[in-house]
Symmetry: C2
């Protein structure tokens, strides 16, 4: 009977520590001060818009999935002017960005879309609220 | 001994279902197709930049914390030109946006910063990858 109580106790410890372990895996060591944030402004030749969007979609999805240092590549277009693309890009740090430029998926995107791009501005940004930025997109998580 | 086995089995069921329950609470019913995405471009009079940023920071934090339909208000400024503010705003739907405009924190922001704003463009955007957008900012979650 003593053994029974010990085993029940061990299981209770597992019950209450396991969720903490599972949730703990979502934590990450990203340092807000080292983050690199960019808002890219890209105008696309309307002839190639569908092709461009297909290629960008594959590239941004692959970057976020395969590269731990790519926090977000969030591509959008202006409703009133769909050839005006805006991409919010967030990298963990400068090294993550430089490494992203060397990946196969980025190189494929860059070379196959070069002739579709009419203009390109890469604008470096700073987040206004670094403390709460990690919570800002929480409502989108699944 | 039979009772012992049944109790152990029940505890195992709890062990493996509890994390699913805890993680399940993060799910949300946001419908990507109804979302309203906006990229606001705001130029601020440099005389008032510090004041404007303090007020915006309080307003965006309160909006995300208090309004379930405000998915993100993500304010940034251009590094090269800090009076150029950009805000990525994501609302669950049009109703959430209209309700946001009526809140005390938004009204306070709007009235106290009116004289600080040199120009304001509210540009409606569409996300290029609605399917994966809910995963895009996952690496930022705490």
């Amino acid at each position: 009977m003593k053994l029974f109580k010990t085993e029940i106790l061990s299981l209770f410890i597992i019950v209450f520590s396991y969720p903490t372990f599972v949730l703990g895996q979502n934590k990450n060591p990203i340092n807000a001060e080292q983050m690199m944030i960019r808002l890219s402004e890209i105008a696309i030749d309307s002839l190639y818009l569908d092709d461009y969007i297909s290629i960008l979609k594959i590239e941004s999805e692959a970057s976020v999935r395969l590269e731990p240092g790519v926090i977000s590549i969030y591509p959008m277009f202006q409703k009133e002017n769909p050839t005006e693309i805006r991409i919010l890009e967030i990298y963990a740090n400068k090294e993550a960005y430089l490494s992203h430029l060397q990946t196969e998926h980025f190189q494929h995107y860059k070379t196959t879309t070069l002739h579709m791009v009419k203009s390109l501005k890469l604008i470096d940004m700073e987040a206004i609220d670094e403390e709460s930025m990690s919570n800002i997109f929480n409502k989108l998580k699944k």
